[in-house]
C-alpha cells in the first residue's frame, strides 16, 4: 500500500488496473499464422534468439573493456539466457499448438514468464523484471514485424503509468474511452498534458519522479488527482475510502451534467458566455458535451510542435476548417502561434536565450518570422468562411506590435483577394492581455482591437515576477494577489469604455474560487478547460449580479492574497458546497 505524492493536475478519484507504458510502447498485436507456416515462424524465433545472443555478446565485450564490469556481467547473463534452449522450446510449442505468429508467441511466453516474478519479494523482483523486459525487447526487435503498440487498440479500461505522456498520446488514449486516469514521473501543473487532462476531467497526478519503477502493469492503483496522491495496491480500508469518494464525485458530476443545456445565467438574469479552451480540434466534442457555447482559446502550437518540420498552409487550413465545421457556427477564437519560452520548434532556428520568457516568444517571434506567420494567417482566413472564426494575437506588450500584426494581416488579405480565395473580410481581431504593459495600456489597445482576452497565466507570472514551476518561489504565484486583481479589473474597466469585448481565458477562469469575483468585476465571457464548465455554470446560476458586485468590492479592499482567498472560499461555499 505504498503512497506516493506528486502534483495533482486534474481532480477526481479513480481506482483501476495499471498499464505501464514502456518508453518504446512495445505491445505486440495478437496474430495467427496458417498451420503450414508454423515451421517458418519457429525458424524466425530461432534466428531472433541467435541474433539477439550475438548482439548482446558484442555489448558484453564492449563493456568488459571498461572499468566496473557490472554491465558486462548483466549482458553476460542475458547472453546465457538467450543461449538456453528451454525458452525457445516453449515458444515453439506455442506456435505449433496455437498457431501464433513468432512475435506474438514470444510476447505471450515472456509475459507469462514475467508474471512468475510478480510473486517474488524484492529485491529480486525489480532487478529481474527489468532484465526480462530488456531481453524481450531485444528479441522482438530481431523477430521484426509489428511490435509498436497501438494506443488506440486498448481493449480494457486502464490507468496509464508512464514516464511522460505527450498531449497527442493523451488525446489518443482518451479517444479509446478506456483511459481511467494516469500518473507520470515528470510534469507540472502548467504542462500541456496536465492542462488537457484537466479539460477532459481525467484524474491525473504528475511529477511523481519515479512512479514507473514502483508500479507494474496489472497492479491496482488509486489516482487521487485532488490531493496529488497515488496509492499502489490499496488495502481494504483505502479501497473503501477511495471508492466512496469516487462515487461521491460521480454524483456531483452527474448533477452538473444536468446543467448542460441550461444557460449560464445569474439569478437576476445576466447571461454569461462560457467557452472552452482547447489544444486539439479533437477536444471540441468534449467542450460541447460539457456545455461550452464555443471555443474561446484554440492554441495552435500543436501544429508546429508535433512534427520535426513546419506544417504547410494546407495542413493548417484543414485543422482550422475542421474545428470550425465541428462548431457549426459557434465562435472559434484561434490564437496565433505562441512559440518560444518553453515551446520551441526544432527547426525554428532558436538561439539559447538567457531569459526565454523575456525573450523572443509569441507575437515577437511571429513578427520576426514573417513567412511562418503569414502562412498561419492565410490558413486562418481561408478557414474563416466555414464558421465564426476570430483571430487573436498573444503576448502583445506594446501597441506597435498590434499595429504590425494587423498590417501583416491586411497584406495577407490582399494577397488572398488577388488569388481569388473566399474569406471573411471583417474577421474579428483580438489581443491577449498577458503582460502588465498591455494591461496598463488596455484602453489604447482596445481602441484598435475587436476584443481583448485576459491570459492570466502569463499575466500573473509577469506581474509577480514568479516562475511557478520553480519550486523555490512557486508558492509566490497566485491569481489572488491584490496586484493581479487590480490589473484585471483595470483591463475590464478600460476595455468597457471602448467597443471591444473583454473576456478572460487563463486558468483562473476555470477556478471555482474566482467565478463570483470575475463576474463582479464585470466580465461576461469566460473561457476555460471543458471540465470546469459545468461547475462554473452551477455557481453562476446560484448567485445574483448584486452578490457578485458586493463580493468584488470587498475583495478589492483586501491587502493580502490570504484574505482574498479566505473570503472567496467562504463566499463560494455558500453556493457550491463541494468546493
Amino acid at each position: 500500500m505504498p503512497l506516493k505524492r506528486g502534483v495533482g493536475v486534474s481532480s477526481g478519484v479513480v481506482i483501476g488496473t495499471a498499464l505501464v507504458l514502456e518508453t518504446e510502447d512495445v505491445r505486440v498485436p495478437r496474430r495467427f499464422v496458417p498451420s503450414d507456416q508454423t515451421a517458418h515462424e519457429i525458424q524466425l524465433v530461432e534466428k531472433a534468439f541467435a541474433a539477439a545472443q550475438a548482439e548482446v555478446g558484442g555489448e558484453r565485450e564492449r563493456f568488459a573493456e571498461r572499468a566496473g564490469n557490472d554491465l558486462a556481467d548483466i549482458f553476460g547473463f542475458h547472453e546465457r539466457w538467450l543461449g538456453d534452449e528451454k525458452p525457445r522450446k516453449e515458444i515453439a510449442d506455442l506456435i505449433r499448438d496455437k498457431e501464433y505468429s513468432a512475435a506474438y508467441a514470444i510476447s505471450v511466453f515472456m509475459r507469462r514468464y514475467r508474471r512468475r516474478f510478480q510473486e517474488m519479494a524484492s529485491p529480486f523482483l525489480q532487478e529481474r523484471a527489468r532484465d526480462i523486459q530488456d531481453i524481450e525487447r531485444r528479441l522482438l526487435r530481431h523477430v521484426g514485424g509489428e511490435t509498436r503498440m497501438e494506443l488506440a487498440a486498448l481493449d480494457e479500461s486502464v490507468i496509464i503509468i508512464a514516464h511522460d505522456l505527450t498531449p497527442s498520446q493523451l488525446v489518443e488514449l482518451e479517444q479509446t474511452k478506456r483511459l481511467l486516469g494516469f500518473a507520470t514521473d515528470v510534469g507540472g501543473t502548467t504542462s500541456h498534458t496536465a492542462i488537457i487532462a484537466a479539460g477532459l476531467s481525467i484524474p491525473a497526478v504528475v511529477g511523481l519522479e519515479d512512479i514507473t519503477t514502483h508500479i507494474s502493469s496489472g497492479d491496482t492503483v488509486v489516482i487521487d488527482g485532488l490531493h496529488g496522491v497515488v496509492v499502489i495496491n490499496p488495502d481494504e480500508q483505502q479501497r473503501a475510502t477511495y471508492t466512496a469518494e469516487a462515487e461521491h464525485l460521480q454524483e456531483v458530476r452527474a448533477t452538473l451534467a444536468e446543467l448542460r443545456d441550461l444557460d449560464a445565467e445569474t439569478r437576476d438574469g445576466v447571461k454569461i458566455e462560457l467557452l472552452g479552451n482547447i489544444e486539439f480540434p479533437l477536444e471540441i466534442t468534449d467542450c460541447l458535451e460539457k456545455g461550452a457555447r464555443g471555443i474561446g482559446l484554440f492554441r495552435t502550437e500543436f501544429l508546429f510542435l508535433q512534427t520535426d518540420r513546419l506544417p504547410s498552409e494546407e495542413e493548417q487550413f484543414e485543422a482550422y476548417r475542421d474545428a470550425a465545421q465541428q462548431l457549426d457556427g459557434l465562435p472559434l477564437v484561434i490564437r496565433t502561434m505562441d512559440l518560444g519560452g518553453d515551446k520551441c520548434h526544432p527547426t525554428g532556428g532558436w538561439e539559447m536565450e538567457k531569459n526565454p520568457f523575456l525573450g523572443l516568444r509569441s507575437i515577437r517571434y511571429s513578427l520576426q518570422n514573417l513567412p511562418m506567420f503569414r502562412s498561419q494567417l492565410r490558413a486562418i482566413l481561408r478557414a474563416s468562411v466555414f464558421g465564426d472564426i476570430r483571430v487573436m494575437f498573444p503576448l502583445v506588450s506594446r501597441i506597435m506590435e498590434l499595429r504590425q500584426a494587423k498590417f501583416v494581416l491586411s497584406t495577407v488579405t490582399e494577397e488572398l483577394e488577388e488569388e481569388g480565395y473566399e474569406f471573411r473580410e471583417d474577421i474579428p481581431v483580438g489581443v491577449m492581455i498577458e503582460t502588465p504593459a498591455a494591461a496598463i495600456c488596455a484602453r489604447e489597445i482596445a481602441r484598435e482591437a475587436d476584443f481583448l482576452s485576459i491570459g492570466t497565466n502569463d499575466l500573473i507570472q509577469y506581474t509577480l515576477a514568479v516562475d511557478r514551476t520553480n519550486e523555490r518561489v512557486g508558492q509566490l504565484y497566485s491569481p489572488a494577489d491584490p496586484s493581479v486583481l487590480r490589473l484585471i479589473r483595470q483591463v475590464v474597466r478600460l476595455g468597457g469604455r471602448s467597443e471591444a469585448k473583454v473576456s478572460l481565458c487563463g486558468e483562473m477562469a476555470g477556478d471555482a474560487l474566482f467565478v463570483i469575483l470575475l463576474l463582479g468585476m464585470g466580465l461576461r465571457t469566460l473561457s476555460m478547460a471543458a471540465g470546469n464548465i459545468p461547475r462554473t455554470k452551477k455557481i453562476i446560476r446560484s448567485i445574483s449580479m448584486a452578490d457578485a458586485q458586493r463580493v468584488c468590492r470587498r475583495v478589492m479592499s483586501f491587502e493580502t492574497e490570504r484574505e482574498v482567498l479566505n473570503y472567496l472560499r467562504d463566499e463560494t461555499r455558500k453556493v457550491w458546497e463541494d468546493l
Binding site: D73, G83, M120, R128, D131, I132
Partner: protein, 94 residues
C-alpha cells in the same frame, strides 16, 4: 528426482549478502555446464534445472536460503563438489 543410483544430493546455504542475483546464477550455470550430469536445484517444493538460465532466474535465493543440489550422472560427485564449493564461497563475491 530420478531414482537412479548415480544421483547424489547435498544441502548448501547461500551466504553472500546479495543472494542469488544475476552474476551468481551465471557462475553457477557456467560450472554446471562443464559436467555431463543433469543438475537440479531444489528450494522448498520448487525445483529448477541448474543448467537453464531461464529456470534459474525463477529461483529466489536471499542470504540464508538453504538449497538442495542434486546431480545425476557419471560425474555427479565431482559436479556437486564444485557447485557446493561455489555456493559456500558466496559465489566468489565475498
Amino acid at each position: 528426482m530420478q531414482d537412479d543410483e548415480s544421483c547424489r544430493q547435498i544441502e548448501v546455504e547461500i551466504v553472500n549478502p546479495q543472494g542469488l542475483h544475476a552474476r551468481p546464477v551465471m557462475r553457477f550455470i557456467d560450472i554446471a555446464a562443464q559436467f555431463k550430469s543433469s543438475i537440479r536445484i531444489h528450494k522448498g517444493d520448487m525445483s529448477v534445472d541448474g543448467k537453464s538460465p531461464m529456470e534459474m532466474m525463477l529461483l529466489e535465493g536471499v542470504q540464508g536460503t538453504i538449497l538442495k543440489l542434486e546431480a545425476c550422472g557419471d560425474d555427479a560427485a565431482q559436479a556437486l563438489d564444485k557447485l557446493a564449493e561455489l555456493v559456500r564461497d558466496g559465489f566468489g563475491e565475498m
